[in-house]
Amino acid sequence: MDFALTEEQTMIVDMVRRFVRQEILPLEENMDPDADELEPEILAGLVEKTKAMGLYGLDTPPEYGGPDIDMVTRVLIAIECSQHRGGLYTPCYGAFGGARQAQLFEATEAQKEKYLYPMLRGEKKVFFGLSEPSGGSDPARAIQTRAVRDGNDHWVLNGTKLWISGADRADYGLVFARTGGPGRSGVSAFIVETQWEGFRVARIVHTLRSSKYATEIQMDNLRVPAENMLGEEGGGFAIANDRLARQRVPYAAECLGPAIKAHEMATEYSKIRETFGAPLASRQGIQWMLVENEIDIRAARLLVLDAAAKADRGEPYRTESAIAKLVCSESAFKVVDRSMQIHGGLGVAKDLPLERWFREMRIRRVGEGPSEVQKHVIARDIIGGSLR
């Protein structure tokens, strides 16, 4: 396995690294330590630059105007553009195009005209409504939101969605609801407009992180036109699952940006901070923490690149993406934790980004499938059999 970067990949990594250092880090000096958003005019200026770099719309397929990059390159970019204070959940504050609802690429032509293209042009915002109070890790079984046919023209949706990022800012969203019996085949996907009667964002769910905050959605006799079903009736889970597996790889890689920065900061600090007449770096206890950081980062990087390389070769990569998500989030959390410990009191202050990374990294071990579910997926592939 050779993970030497190609000339083009090296160029892209350098370009993104320069962009973060020259454009993003100076902005953060004057922002709230928990900020997750730039003023629209500033963001627009940055978007012009990423477009000029040919890297706008990272998760948009080339046939829809996105850059023609493979998954390995996407992972390398994810590692670079998350190396700043807000980088874990808002890499470069969306200057590279932000998250995309990949399911809409499976839409009909009419749906694409109405919903996909405005999203790609940045005119409309979209949310992804899968998790419910009854559970998010096993949506196929947990979904209780019901969609019932009302004649041939409409479906009527009733239910609650929880942990939904960006729903209060969205113009429309993808909502998964049960149209049939229990299990995967009973779930369908709908495109729902947030202005429709019967749809409301009831509250913001306050958590450890302020970026990409979660909301609770309530649907009360929400009438959805039949043409707004996405994919086949009963095919909703397959659509959701495909997206989750594919986006899990760069999602895992983004954990490494803050981990790399935290490790760099800890290393530098250990050289200049003296205790009892000698630099921290001279203490074996500190040296071993730095060594563990280094090993955790290198191992996680190799694993996420392995998953990406398998995806690029067209091989099955579900197990690899689960391993990457598990190891990147768990290892990055440990790296940030150790780096905070090395910084002492300064590590927990809002003066430095470490405390934000620590809070957000804690969520990362739960979001997009907790570590235990990733282990469950890996175990199933090793042992065989279905998940029970």
Partner: protein, 116 residues
């Protein structure tokens, strides 16, 4: 935690300000009738947290402001957004003195219940 702030109003004066802590959080300013005129936040870059921000309001209060209330909250950014969005839902626009908020940066919240 209620979506709308439900803490008691206090008169905006030096005596009441002395009881405010330097924590991070959100606060509201109102007139005599309890009409909210400003929704503010004491974020991570403030020097004295809520105490410092409310002290600024005492020093130069927006027109009509005579009362304040606050909530200590480490999730100050999301709580601030929630209070602003709930206010916009209840009254159709931002509080009069919130000229510091760009409405384009706010989402749409439709909480249950009514204004407090």
């Amino acid at each position: 935690m209620a979506v709308r702030l439900d803490k008691p109003w206090r008169d905006l004066n030096a005596e009441n300000l002395a009881r405010v802590t330097g924590h991070l959080g959100v606060y509201q300013l109102a007139d005599d009738a309890g009409k909210i005129l400003y929704i503010g936040v004491a974020g991570g870059r403030t020097r004295y947290g809520l105490k410092g921000e409310i002290a600024k309001a005492l020093e130069a209060p927006p027109p009509g402001v005579t009362k304040f209330r606050f909530e200590v909250n480490m999730a100050y950014r999301t709580r601030h957004a929630e209070l602003l969005e709930a206010y916009v839902h209840d009254f159709g626009g931002l509080p009069e003195a919130n000229t510091d908020i760009d409405p384009r940066m706010l989402g749409r919240l439709r909480p249950g219940g009514g204004p407090r």
